[in-house]
Symmetry: C2
Subunit: 278 residues, 2 copies
């Protein structure tokens, strides 16, 4: 009810944050469909802040990480793409397409795991063209070590035996556990400070709505390259450097704002205070 009202508010194209508000609408829609968790809405807000600091565009460090990620998926024997509520709400179609192109399995993998949300996400993936969706059938349930209760479950046919896992918008504890298990971990995370960004082997610091379509284009260019060339890309890849450059870009943007303070010039036209009433 209250959600419905909010969804009916039309966002004018002229709004300074029109694109960002469109993605937000997708997320609120996903929330109302039972796909997105409450915490997923808050996490999205954190992402919005970092996307703003990055100028809301894909930078060279993200593109490099995307290329390394695609190379890694293509050389992996058993890549698995993890899906949570926010991923399903924002890029289900493109994510399923990318998984198909690199022969990866799809696995529903939730931080706040409920049967209802698992099923809702499975429906979204099937509607987006997925063949098989792992992580929903309890018969194949296995557990990650060192992770508490509901968050530790994975699929025996999926993440448990994967050599490479793609965990965009993931929780830090789980990313760390996967890395420590010896998996190759690829993530998309707008916050280079997050434990997920820090623990992944490859961190794409970008908005998932830009990164996944970008990766589809990269697969097209890379799929026929010899394995040696793909391995060369991985050999030259340095995630530490990628994270450093992401921080550097944010710093550059802030430096410009810090030199001004008041960025909106028009504000200066108004008196500092209106104390006429005294």
């Amino acid at each position: 009810m209250r959600e419905r009202e909010e969804e009916n508010i039309i966002i004018p194209e002229s709004h300074p944050r029109a694109k960002s508000l469109k993605y937000r609408e997708l997320l609120v829609h996903g929330y109302n469909e039972g796909v997105v968790a409450t915490a997923g809405l808050i996490a999205h807000g954190r992402g919005e802040a970092f996307d703003y600091l990055l100028g809301e565009k894909t930078h060279d460090f993200a593109r490099e990480a995307m290329e390394a990620a695609v190379a890694l998926f293509l050389v992996s024997k058993h890549p698995v793409f993890s899906v949570n509520g926010n991923v399903a709400a924002l890029v289900a179609k493109e994510y399923v397409e990318l998984a198909k192109k690199v022969n990866a399995k799809l696995e529903v993998n939730l931080f706040y795991r409920t049967k209802r949300r698992e099923r809702a996400i499975e429906r979204v993936l099937l509607a987006a063209g997925a063949g098989e969706v792992l992580g929903v059938d309890e018969k194949y349930r296995a557990e990650l070590p060192e992770i508490e209760h509901l968050r530790r479950y994975v699929d025996k046919r999926g993440i448990l035996i994967a050599d490479t896992v793609f965990v965009p918008l993931e929780d830090g504890d789980r990313t760390m556990a996967l890395r420590k298990m010896g998996k190759n971990v690829v993530t998309i995370d707008l916050n280079p400070l997050s434990r997920t960004a820090q623990w992944a082997n490859i961190t794409i610091v970008d908005n998932i709505v830009r990164a996944v379509p970008g990766m589809i284009r990269i697969v097209e260019k890379m799929r026929n390259k010899p394995k040696e060339e793909l391995l060369e890309i991985l050999k030259n890849y340095d995630n530490n450097d990628i994270l450093r450059r992401a921080f550097e870009k944010i710093k550059e943007n802030i430096e410009e704002w810090a030199s001004k303070g008041l960025i909106i010039e028009e504000v200066k036209k108004y008196p500092k205070f209106n104390l006429k009433f005294l």
Copy 2:
């Protein structure tokens, strides 16, 4: 249902983000009570990101803005404190206390206005000790110029005739409209880039859960000062400089991270990739 489950997850004191997760719980609770809007959850996430960049503490530029804000409230003839869902969920008790101490009226003032949420917030304020709550009775409804539909309503006894309005966690369009009307606008906003932070006369760049209790302590120290001294504080106050210093602090923190890239040392112990499977 799904919200209930999430609320039952216990956050260990040892968690690196325990405090931030406690505030998040307050917000999710407010959401389940119909006090907080869906967009309020996302906005909270943006705030979390900026609070993290600020080191999750109150800096000197915030303290200076808090002092100027208290001075302004004390010299104002008709100060009004605006309340939205997030304010009510996070600091209802302290906010009501501060309003009483500076003789300000309280007015419910929602971006996503519904009768149900207005009433829910009114209940929270009354339970927190508020005497009168404006903004709920349609009989006293007036309109702000240049603001679309539901967002433009204010109370004839409150914001419409106020000389000074306190609009923490406010929307940019409304802050701008209030400033252009000649009101003195005070806000709390963790994001120095936001249009609210930019358009306010006084911008407290801090977390509301730290700022409002801090302001209560400042009133105690200031309430007996002569009016001349309070006006001197306002004369010397420069919001442009405050915003500049907030950006500067974020820049300093990012500089440190940018010099490292990988901040979590332990990650370096693990191999760059695990390509044994090849």
